[in-house]
């Protein structure tokens, strides 16, 4: 690093700045809108400021707080289920060779390629017969369709670099399989669970079409609420809810950034997308 030429360093700095501007710039009008009382062309900034949009957004009438709780609950449930299914699936795909492995990998990846609406329409008719339509449980289950591929890919990357002989060693030293998992396997795969769980949470958090179709408009998560206000033309309230909506993502990213470095085996699985 120290031997890089000044030009290379300058370029790296510039690229970083462009990336930050690219990501942050669209959020600035959102924040400004949430404090504006009218904001009209050709004004660069609104003429008058107010907290009324925030007052409304955080009041009981808007339903934002309820919706935030519901969205967090659904995303957490989808994340936990993804981990419970994704860890064994990733282990099978990362450690073992078996007939039909490529087909299973393709099927797990398919939801990231097939349009969500096509998936949702098929599942919709199945869920009607199961009575899962318009329920929170149904929404959680359908969120697994887009979250599982990320979880499984991350875990198969982790297990590809994992030596199961450590488990044999623990067993032979007197550990039951449960203790073996807790003391030996779990610490080794924890980085993958964190990264995969993070992806699963954020993917579930940002679902719109699947929630709308399976929830039937009765399960109103934040993106649905946001869309209602966005289409009703209330830019100030949309701005306030928008900020609430992106906060968890930013908090999670800050908390787990150190697990996302390129040296981490957990992100290795993504090479296969």
């Amino acid at each position: 690093m120290q031997n890089d030429s000044p030009w290379l360093r300058a370029f790296r700095g510039l690229a970083g700045a462009v990336l930050i501007v690219w990501l942050v710039l669209p959020l600035i009008p959102l924040a400004i809108w949430s404090f504006a009382r009218g904001w009209f062309f050709p004004d660069i900034l609104p003429k008058q400021w107010t907290l009324s949009a925030w007052e409304y957004a955080l009041s009981d009438r808007a339903g934002v707080i309820d919706s935030l709780g519901l969205t967090i609950g659904i995303s957490l449930a989808a994340t936990v289920l993804s981990i419970l299914v994704g860890v064994p699936a990733g282990r099978a795909l990362g450690l073992y060779k078996f007939r039909g492995k490529e087909l299973i990998e393709l099927l797990i990846l398919a939801p990231t390629i097939v349009p969500g609406i096509a998936v949702a329409l098929g599942i919709h008719s199945v869920f009607i017969t199961l009575g899962l339509n318009n329920t929170v449980g149904g929404v959680v289950l359908v969120h697994l369709v887009p979250t599982l591929p990320y979880m499984v890919l991350v875990m198969s990357g982790i297990f590809a670099n994992y030596d199961p002989a450590f488990e044999s060693q623990a067993r032979s030293l007197g550990a039951s399989w449960l203790k073996t998992f807790w003391y030996v396997t779990f610490p080794a795969i924890l980085p993958g669970i964190i990264v995969g769980g993070l992806f699963a949470f954020l993917v579930s958090w940002s679902q719109y079409i699947l929630t709308l179709l399976i929830g039937g408009g009765r399960v109103v998560t934040l993106p649905l609420l946001l869309f209602n206000f966005a289409t009703s033309g209330r830019n100030d309230i949309t701005g306030a809810i928008g900020i609430v909506y992106i906060l968890p993502g930013i908090i999670i990213l800050i908390l787990t950034a150190r697990h996302l470095s390129g040296r981490n085996g957990a992100v290795g699985g993504f090479g296969r997308i």
């Binding site: 450590f166 060693q169 067993r171 032979s172 030293l173 007197g174 203790k179 003391y183 030996v184």
Partner: protein, 344 residues
């Protein structure tokens, strides 16, 4: 204090027609150090995993003191395996690694600390308890792995290629450590290796396994003096195999008639003798005149390729003994009768 016996132990892996291990029977007395020797893929590691409970045999039985252990889970067998690459848990300190087995047995924290301290002294790593395994050298890691296994005072200790990852000077140190600890604690120990030198140096008795079958089970020196068959002799570096006819006291072959030691078999057979037992110089008994075809100087010894009539004879001699002989010239040799062995 455990007598281990393997009874017709067989393993056929799914999808394979040929057994990886074919009816292996062995009696391993209490407190002995036994080597399972064989090339890679001969079934020796399979055997070890079946004793440890990490693999289920297709048929046959493993008993400890005449009690079958096949139904017991790996963690209840009292067998500890030390793997070739040590497998120290990377998230734990050296002390936590060594204490792992006691922690699984719910021993008190203070008792664990005390015994871990003792083990660290025993394997001569007294001050390294707080280190991470990755901060240790290969030899130190192996000693930690050994300490981690011995601390639970297993009935049976299994070692996978215990010396093969070590430098030459560490090998003898480790050999002495393993032998002294094993003798002191009296733990029945089985180790697998592909290296005949490792087997001979460390073990009380050696079981040679080739292609999933037990070829010979005996004290190490017997493999050199009285190999069971040509494959065994070749595995231990034998190179001279001469077909002929034995009368019990003499052997008729392309080398002429050679006097045999007592108790040799009679009938058709193959004469074998080790290259290092071919003596340079004339003799009344079993003296031959050979032509020197080639010589390779190896520092402490010289390898000679000799021809007697149409038969090639490989010999290893002290460089001083063969100083003057020239390639293409005659060399007087003799084969002491006690160095000869007739294979069926």
């Amino acid at each position: 204090m455990t007598h281990v016996s393997l009874k017709d132990l067989t393993k056929v892996y799914p999808g394979s027609k040929v057994p990886s291990l074919d009816r292996l029977s062995l009696e391993i007395p209490t407190g002995e150090l036994t080597a399972l020797l064989g090339p890679s893929g001969c079934g020796k590691t399979t055997t070890m995993k079946m004793i440890a409970g990490l693999l289920t045999p297709t048929s046959g039985d493993v008993t400890f003191d005449d009690r079958s252990i096949l139904r017991e889970k790996p963690e209840h067998r009292g067998v500890v395996m030390v793997f070739q690459n040590y497998l120290l848990f990377p998230y734990m300190s050296v002390a936590d690694n060594i204490g792992f087995g006691l922690k699984m047995r719910k021993v008190d924290k203070s008792e664990i600390d005390r015994r871990v301290g003792e083990m660290l002294d025993l394997v001569k790593l007294p001050d390294l308890g707080k280190r991470r395994p990755s901060e240790l050298s290969g030899g130190q890691q192996q000693r930690v792995a050994l300490a981690r296994a011995l601390i639970v005072q297993p009935k049976v200790l299994l070692l996978d290629e215990p010396l093969s990852n070590l430098d030459a000077h560490l090998r003898f140190e480790m050999r002495d450590l393993i032998r002294s600890l094993q003798q002191e604690m009296g733990i029945t120990t089985i180790f697998v290796t592909h290296d005949q030198e490792e087997a001979v140096v460390l073990a009380d008795k050696v079981a040679l396994i080739l292609d999933g079958r037990l070829c010979q089970y005996d004290h190490a020196d017997v493999f050199y003096k009285r190999p069971a068959n040509e494959a065994v002799a070749r595995f231990f570096g034998g190179q001279n195999f001469i077909p002929g006819q034995s009368s019990g006291t003499a052997f008729d072959s392309a080398l002429g008639q050679l006097a045999l030691p007592q108790n040799a078999i009679t009938g058709k057979g193959t004469l074998t003798f080790r290259p290092e037992n071919v003596k340079i110089g004339p003799s009344q008994t079993n003296g031959l005149t050979a032509i020197l075809e080639d010589r390779i100087y190896l520092g402490t010894q010289t390898r000679l390729r000799l021809r007697v009539g149409e038969t090639m004879v490989e010999a290893i001699a002290n460089p001083d003994e063969v100083g003057d002989f020239e390639v293409g010239g005659p060399v007087p040799i003799h084969l002491p009768p006690q160095a000869l062995w007739v294979l069926q």
